[in-house]
């Protein structure tokens, strides 16, 4: 290797070093530390006892921990996000991206919930769902639909769905904004050409706009799925995983293990599993969105 090349490599390394140090210090090191702790039985304070993979074995086999149920709930939320939340966001983005009257105010209004603190949103929806004076039950009573009035967050059958609705309400604007940016990026010339060829508005959206914004749709799906897998704040405020663990998700189980049961090893094992699952789903979604030819090959 020439001396000049070596100097170049050193220069590149030196320039990358600050970013690399931040990346390792902030992202890689905590993950590695969690992985390390996950092999121990530790209450967070006293001596640590190495137990190998026992935390993982217990995580997947113990009914008392209920990790499978929590994971199932997170996947259910992810499915609702992808098949309900994102289509709504896409619909808004396509309509607003067309340049309708009042485009800007609508954009701001739909985006507003994203700016509000999740705890505030949680408190707001707690009041809406309150079985005694909540807006929802009051509206049902006023409409004479007393039989539909319900303890929405207290019934194992409705709690998970009741938790999802505020999530949808909060993040629909976020995904809409991402997609709106994509829709606005579609060249007016392509739209015009399609119209000249006789395509109506829905055909333009279906055959021109949506394929063009596919990379943004991929990002939205990844955000929606990984966001659901690690969802925590709204659930913590609204139900804290209850009633009867009906709204438990991996994050709430992790918090219970770490801070209520003092099982730092098990909590770390859950954290590691969440990281692995988020990466796996992100890779799976990226693979699913890859362009393929008619024979299914890239």
């Amino acid at each position: 290797m020439k001396k000049k090349d070596v100097i170049n490599y050193i220069n590149v390394f030196l320039f990358l070093l600050p970013a690399l140090a931040l990346f390792v210090g902030i992202l890689i090191a905590p993950i590695m530390k969690s992985l390390y702790y996950s092999f121990f039985k530790w209450n967070g304070m006293g001596a640590m006892e190495f137990i190998g993979l026992k935390n993982y074995t217990e995580l997947f086999t113990s009914k008392a921990i209920g990790f499978w149920k929590a994971l199932g709930n997170a996947c259910f939320l992810a499915a609702l996000s992808v098949f309900i939340q994102l289509p709504i966001s896409l619909g808004f983005a396509l309509v607003l991206g067309r340049g309708i009257k009042g485009e800007r105010p609508f954009l701001s209004i739909y985006f507003m919930p994203v700016l509000i603190s999740t705890v505030v949103i949680g408190q707001l929806w707690l009041k809406i769902y309150n079985p005694d004076y909540g807006l929802l039950n009051s509206a049902l009573w006023k409409l004479g639909l007393d039989s539909l009035a319900h303890t929405w967050l207290g019934d194992t059958k409705t709690a998970l769905l009741a938790v999802f609705i505020p999530t949808l309400w909060q993040y629909v604007g976020y995904h809409m904004l991402l997609m709106y940016a994509g829709v606005k990026g579609v060249s007016p010339d392509i739209r015009e050409a399609a119209r000249i060829d006789g395509a109506n508005e829905s055909q333009v959206n279906r055959y021109i706009v949506i394929p063009v914004i596919k990379p943004i749709l991929k990002v939205s799906v990844i955000f929606a799925v990984t966001g659901s897998l690690k969802s925590f704040d709204l659930i913590y405020v609204l139900t804290n995983g209850g009633p009867l663990h009906a709204t438990e998700v991996p994050s709430t189980v992790m918090i219970e293990m770490l801070f209520q049961r003092n099982r730092y090893g098990m909590g770390s094992a859950i954290a590691v599993m969440m990281i692995i699952l988020c990466f796996a789903f992100a890779l799976l979604i990226s693979w699913a969105f890859k362009e393929r030819d008619i024979y299914g090959k890239k």
Partner: protein, 447 residues
């Protein structure tokens, strides 16, 4: 005179009953006492050894507690701290209050990182034991010598590990059966029923009159335990329940299973507000004070809030839960004990001063808390206590007749076991498991 008598009786009862955590054995810590060496195996800082509150120079101590603005103990903390600042201007106390549930997380994280304040609020028994075992808590044996006459040693039972004291108790509370007498009178009851059969008949009468008998916050499982533990204790007796909570006996006890079934019959009979499962304790308490429920089983620290509500206070009375199985349980067997505690961090720069300060502060918080009706005094009462509200005095009378106490289950057990237990209590309240499944599940899952 009557109140002094009650205090003496209460203390006597505590001596009989507080076997609780005093027998628990913390390992690895708490060795050093009596020689100035730091407890928890942490040697005393030689630079600060021998310091006292009176002789120390200008120092600052930090304290964390749960006396938030809405907490019934807030006033007692503020008054006590103001008195301390006036008495010891050389010591500046920086104190912060946190919401109860989040505090549990915060203090554990702080202990884990060894970044605790000098003085911190804690619950006694198993909650504090983890900190003591980790060597993070300063032993208070030396400092206690100066307060023996004012703080009976029996009150330190729940914060004593391996024979060493690690906490300053503030107040003690029991689970009380609070009743809205206006609602009871509306169905023909002028007093809280004293026997279980009368009690059930009263609930039936309330239900027939479209009055919900019980309010219980299902969103906070500890509120369910206030009911369940009382039912179990009055079915199997306090000794049996104490033995189970402290790990001296198995959960696989048929009498406990029968008691759990009894509790579930109350739920299945529709005595509990069905909305309660989604409500917090604050919401349920507000509903009780608004007249939605006839009974509310909860800690006697609520006396202060009830006393502060002029419209509601004349309506409320307190009693203990009636006996269900007279062969095994008697009146006077109660759920509760001194749990609210202040402790000193072993990492404090001035542990000896902090220890002395904690005793002085604890005494004052106890004094003002008792006057406010936040609970019964763990310390010997002093001064004029005639202003103590009637409800708290009734609680003192109940405690005066106490023959045994069982500390709250989630405080008596270690964190992991307590959460397993709470999970099963949740399932019992939701009628997902019956008595047999409850005892078998706990017998298998409690580690």
């Amino acid at each position: 005179m009557k109140r002094k008598l009650l205090s003496v009786l209460m203390t006597g009862a505590m001596v009989l009953s507080l076997a609780a955590c005093g027998g628990s054995t913390g390992s690895g810590s708490g060795s050093g006492s009596g020689s100035g060496s730091g407890a928890s195996g942490v040697p005393a800082n030689s630079a600060t050894a021998g310091e006292t509150l009176a002789t120390v120079g200008d120092i600052t101590l930090d304290m964390w507690c749960i006396a938030t603005e809405s907490d019934s103990n807030r006033h007692s903390y503020e008054a006590a701290i103001a008195d301390m600042q006036a008495a010891y201007p050389n010591v500046t106390l920086n104190w912060e209050a946190f919401e109860n549930q989040s505090y549990k997380t915060k203090i554990k994280a702080a202990v884990s990182a060894n970044e605790m304040p000098d003085i911190f609020f804690t619950w006694s028994c198993a909650f504090l034991q983890d900190f003591v075992d980790a060597g993070r808590v300063w032993c208070l044996d030396d400092a206690y010598q100066n307060y023996k006459s004012e703080l009976p040693e029996s009150m330190l039972g729940n914060s004593t590990y391996n024979g060493h004291h690690y906490g300053v108790p503030l107040t003690m509370n029991i689970v009380g059966l609070f009743a809205n007498m206006d609602l009871l009178k509306s169905v023909g009851y002028n007093e809280i029923p004293g026997t279980y059969d009368e009690f059930i008949a009263c609930c039936d009468a309330l239900k027939a009159a479209d009055i919900i008998p019980f309010g219980c916050a299902g969103k906070e499982t500890w509120c369910v335990t206030e009911y369940l533990e009382s039912v179990i204790e009055k079915s199997v007796g306090y000794e049996a329940l104490n033995d189970i909570f402290l790990g001296r006996a198995t959960w696989d006890n048929k009498d406990v299973a029968a008691a759990v079934d009894t509790f579930q019959s109350l739920v299945n009979n529709g005595y509990f507000d069905p909305s309660g499962i989604a409500l917090s304790n604050d919401e349920v308490k507000a509903n009780f004070m608004d007249g939605k429920y006839a009974f509310y089983m909860n800690g006697t620290w609520n006396c202060a809030d009830f006393a502060n509500n002029a419209a509601f206070f004349p309506k409320v009375k307190v009693a203990e839960f009636p006996v269900i199985n007279a062969d095994k349980a008697t009146l006077g067997q109660l759920i509760g004990g001194p749990s609210d505690t202040l402790a000193v961090a072993a990492s404090s720069a001035h542990p000896e001063v902090a220890a002395e300060y904690t005793f002085e502060l604890g005494k004052l918080i106890c004094h003002y808390g008792y006057l406010d009706g936040c609970g019964l005094p763990a310390w010997t009462p002093y001064g004029d206590t005639s202003a103590v509200n009637a409800l708290t005095q009734d609680v003192a009378a109940i405690c005066g007749n106490a023959t045994g106490y069982v500390l709250f289950g989630d405080t008596a057990m270690n964190a992991d076991d307590a959460n397993t237990y709470l999970s099963y209590v949740d399932q019992v309240y939701g009628c997902q498991v019956n008595g047999d499944q409850f005892i078998q599940g706990l017998a298998n899952d409690i580690r």
